[in-house]
Symmetry: C2
Subunit: 133 residues, 2 copies
């Protein structure tokens, strides 16, 4: 099972620091924008590659939310998310869900691994005015 070696490059380090340093759930290009301030020559491809590597390593989380852009989360503790249907913003939800029950597996031929709950709603900001951005 030869695992691939991973070097800690300056780029990867700064991308990691950036994601961990945010309480938001940034998209790849938002991270790109921030990292660029410290590493002006970094490329978007590098950001994507490192976000994927860090996700594989379980150091950050990739939010496979329905919709267009994927978002990333520096908080890998178990929690769920709400997404604003208007602006796409994501908020954390720290509640417990029951474990997948064996009863479920009996009713499907799939081997069930996990389940996610994604709540959809409207964020405080978009509740105020008719979204005019």
């Amino acid at each position: 099972m030869a695992e691939k070696q991973h070097r800690m490059t300056r780029q990867r380090q700064i991308i990691l620091e950036t994601v961990k340093g945010l309480k938001t759930h940034p998209t790849a290009d938002e991270i790109f924008g921030l990292v660029r301030k410290r590493l002006p020559r970094i490329s978007l491809g590098t950001v994507y590659r490192n976000l994927d590597i860090l996700t594989e390593q379980g150091i950050i989380r990739k939010l496979d939310t329905a919709g267009q852009q994927k978002r990333f989360d520096g908080d890998v503790s178990p929690h769920y998310h709400v997404k604003c249907v208007k602006c796409g913003k994501i908020d954390d939800l720290y509640f417990e869900l029951p474990q997948p029950s064996s009863e479920w597996s009996e009713k499907t031929s799939f081997q069930i691994l996990e389940y996610n709950v994604e709540l959809l709603g409207i964020c405080p900001q978009c509740q105020k005015g008719p979204s005019h951005h």
Copy 2:
């Protein structure tokens, strides 16, 4: 609230029949492939447009599953889905999952509209061999 008029064109009719006639959860291009057999000159854009219109009308369902391609479902009765993490195939689940509790909404400042439950698993086919597709 002037609803937009919708004409029943031959294209829309056949797209609808196709989706309703399938027990699978086809992607837009799979539907395109099938509809094409009856309407060789139809364009992919027409398929997309009509799938969206039919979804708006609640006649079919668009599955906003995380991942790359969206899938459609001719069965609009309430049920959930499992997605195979290996091949992306989707299966229906006709059992009850934990209902959203008001407790959840209290923990966020978002106005909750709806919630999705997405189960992830491995389909029978992918359980067998080391996925060599």
